[in-house]
């Protein structure tokens, strides 16, 4: 570290206390520590109210591992979401038979079409049939296009998933370093400027931000004209350079806005940590304030930042619909919106289920990262952790509902 004195650890100034203490004291201390070592195993030395309580012997606590509890919650949440998605879509007016029949079809023709598509069966039968197919890896066939839903989703995810990953990478690359700088910069003007930039950039609509990027960087239309602004290569990722270039502007569009929001979040989390004794203790040990914020504050704020980044990634999967339309990308969000407009309920419900599973997986990953980042959670009771999972499920359900009602269009 800078300013570290070039002196050996053997120097008198760093002599351990035990050496500096009188010999008799040292012997006493050593003996005491030795006795503790032999008579008190680590588990007993650790504070453990349960092990000290006589009641602890009366009850046998079977501690289910966190991962198992979390996976069980995942399965329950997925089943609940599948039921919610199915029920919610049936509440919407119209169905695929009406869309296919058009306005000229008689009620009898529509009913015949409905029977052919299996839409006249009772809802519970339809639900269980769909669920059984999904569990066997069959997402069904689009009632409008006649293509396998799984194959359609797979093709579209080749665009949307990398777009969301790139968008998140841009957001993290902007949000975390600038968020730290917004707290640690010596210049108050710079700190204020970063704060204002974050507020402005975070409130720009994706459509407007995307248009601005096209006007600056778009090939053929932009001032610099360096990046493609329309479409995705027909060969897909077989031409990785072109595929990546076609996703650059869309990823910047969503990444800059999300990054600005993340910057504000990181700044806010660090400001909260900044005046705590954790930072004071690190400074007392010999860190500058900036070092303490970066090395201790950021680590303490990491679980919250991971949560926000996880949710941002998940919401990008549906939030990219505007960007996909703007840049003419054949992505998943566009497919979902088209199927929703066509009342292709079988396709929509499978797509929404996949989306909600993605949200749940993100929640699972975030929870696991929380456990990896904060050792206190490993010893904590499972309630909080389960609550995290529940929160993720609720958030996921909310977004799925918003997508189903077409609110994503306005995003």
């Amino acid at each position: 570290m800078t300013g570290k004195p070039a002196q050996s650890a053997q120097a008198a100034q760093v002599a351990p206390v035990a050496q500096a203490a009188p010999a008799a004291q040292t012997a006493q201390v050593t003996q005491s520590a030795g006795q503790t070592k032999t008579s008190e195993p680590r588990s007993a030395a650790l504070r453990s109210p349960h092990s000290q309580s006589p009641r602890a012997h009366a009850h046998v606590h079977v501690r289910v591992p966190y991962v198992v509890r979390r996976l069980a919650a995942f399965i329950v949440a997925a089943l609940v979401q599948s039921a919610v998605i199915f029920a919610f879509l049936r509440m919407l007016p119209g169905d695929a038979a009406m869309v296919l029949g058009g306005t000229t079809a008689t009620p009898e023709q529509t009913a015949r079409l409905r029977a052919q598509m299996g839409l006249d069966r009772p809802y519970p039968v339809q639900y269980l049939s769909w669920l059984s197919d999904v569990l066997h890896g069959n997402l069904g066939v689009s009632q409008l296009s006649g293509k396998a839903v799984g194959a359609q989703v797979g093709v579209r995810m080749e665009v949307t998933l990398p777009l969301a990953v790139l968008g998140l990478a841009v957001a993290l690359a902007i949000g975390i370093p600038l968020g730290v700088l917004a707290v640690t910069a010596r210049s108050a003007k710079l700190r204020r400027a970063l704060q204002i930039c974050a507020i402005v950039a975070g409130s720009i609509p994706a459509l407007w931000g995307g248009l601005l990027l096209v006007l600056i960087f778009g090939k053929g239309v932009g001032l610099l004209g360096v990046l493609p602004s329309q479409g995705f290569p027909s060969g897909g990722w077989r031409a990785p350079g072109r595929a990546l270039a076609s996703l650059a502007l869309p990823a910047l569009s969503i990444g800059i806005i999300t990054g600005a929001q993340l910057l504000r979040y990181v700044r806010s989390a660090l400001v909260d940590v900044c005046d705590t004794d954790y930072i004071a203790q690190a400074m007392v040990a010999g860190m500058t304030r900036a070092q303490a914020v970066r090395r201790v504050g950021l680590r303490l704020a990491a679980p919250q930042i991971v949560s926000v980044a996880g949710l941002a990634f998940a919401s990008m999967m549906t939030g990219v619909v505007v960007v996909e339309n703007l840049f003419a990308l054949p992505g998943f969000a566009t497919l979902l919106m088209n199927d929703l407009k066509g009342r292709d309920f079988l396709a929509v419900q499978s797509e929404l289920l996949l989306l909600s599973l993605l949200f749940l997986v993100m929640g699972l990953v975030v929870d696991m990262l929380h456990h990896a980042l904060d050792p206190r959670l490993k010893d904590a009771a499972g309630f909080g952790a389960d609550a995290d999972g529940g929160a993720a499920a609720v958030a996921s359900a909310a977004v799925v509902s918003s997508a189903a009602t077409g609110e994503g269009d306005e995003a």
Binding site: M1, T2, G3, K4, P5, A6, Q7, S8, A9, A11, Q13, V14, A15, P16, V17, A18, Q19, A20, A21, P22, Q25, T26, V29, T30, S32, A33, T36, K37, E40, P41, R42, A45, L46, R47, C274, D275, T276, D277, Y278, A280, Q281, A282, M283, V284, A285, G286, M287, T288, R289, A290, Q291, V296, R299, L300, L373, D374, P375, R376, D379
Partner: protein, 274 residues
């Protein structure tokens, strides 16, 4: 002087918290700073260490080992902190890094200031744990797995591992029960004396102060109200605030006065034991 504070003013842009405080700590001396809650004691310690909250600023002069602290660059202060001057806070549960082991927390000042390889670092940390009567088996435990008294011992071990010349303790026993308070104070005094270091002991409890210091300053509303020998001040306080604090220390004594408790080894409620 190890520490020389002259005309220190600490406050925000709107109101001062500490006004015109001057105090000295000589080499090897144990000095107390006592006062009721809100009198500005903690802000003085933070101003001395250069770790005031960002909303506060300090004026005047604070010299640690002859180095002026007020207005000094943070890098310069960071070089002093943890090497020449160290500190123990009131609530180690809210100060020790919760995501690192206590071995990491204890060894951090050494790692930041000296070139020590991993094996030697481990050995130094374990020896330091011996010195503060912590079982070596706790080296890889996390702060939340320890009791309050064990955490405070970790904080003391971290504060003393580089053998600093000045240790500032800010209400180090307030969050502890009576028996642990006594043990922690005795441990602190023993280790500080063993190092030949100086101690600035901040507390609101005269009974604890008497056990830990030989001279003290009494604070009231951000100012030094009186100062002198701790024993003499407890016998005959010269100011209302001094008298109130001594009276409080005696009233908190379960059996007899604070001085009786100190001499006779009586357990004190909310104070110290002997």
């Amino acid at each position: 002087m190890v520490l020389h504070v002259h005309d220190l003013v600490v406050g925000s842009s709107t109101a001062p918290i500490v006004t015109g405080v001057s105090l000295d700590v000589a080499p090897g001396e144990r000095v107390g700073l006592v006062g009721p809650s809100g009198s500005g004691k903690s802000m003085i310690s933070r101003a001395i260490l250069g770790i005031l909250p960002s909303s506060l600023h300090a004026k005047g002069s604070v010299k640690i080992g002859g180095v002026e602290v007020i207005g000094a660059p943070d890098a310069r202060l960071a070089d002093l902190r943890g090497r020449y001057v160290s500190a123990v806070f009131q609530n180690p549960g809210a100060a020790l890094d919760p995501v690192h082991t206590i071995a990491h927390s204890i060894g951090l000042p050494l790692a930041l200031h000296y070139d020590v390889d991993r094996d030697e670092m481990r050995e130094r940390v374990l020896r330091q744990m011996d010195a503060v009567d912590l079982p070596r088996s706790l080296a890889d435990a996390y702060p939340h797995q320890l009791s309050g008294g064990q955490r405070q011992r970790v904080a003391i071990a971290a504060a003393l591992i580089t053998s600093p010349r000045l240790i500032i303790t800010d209400e180090p026993t307030t969050a502890l029960d009576a028996v642990v308070q006594r043990d922690v104070v005795d441990l602190l005094v023993r280790l500080v004396d063993g190092l030949g270091a100086s101690l600035l002991f901040i507390t609101h409890d005269f009974a604890v102060l008497r056990r830990a210091t030989t001279r003290c300053y009494v604070m009231e509303s951000g100012r030094i109200a009186e100062s002198g020998n701790t024993e003499a001040l407890m016998r005959a306080p010269q100011t209302p605030v001094g008298a109130a604090l001594v009276e409080a220390a005696e009233m908190l004594t379960l059996h007899g006065t604070a001085s009786d408790a100190m001499k006779g080894g009586t357990v004190m409620k909310g104070g110290v034991t002997s």
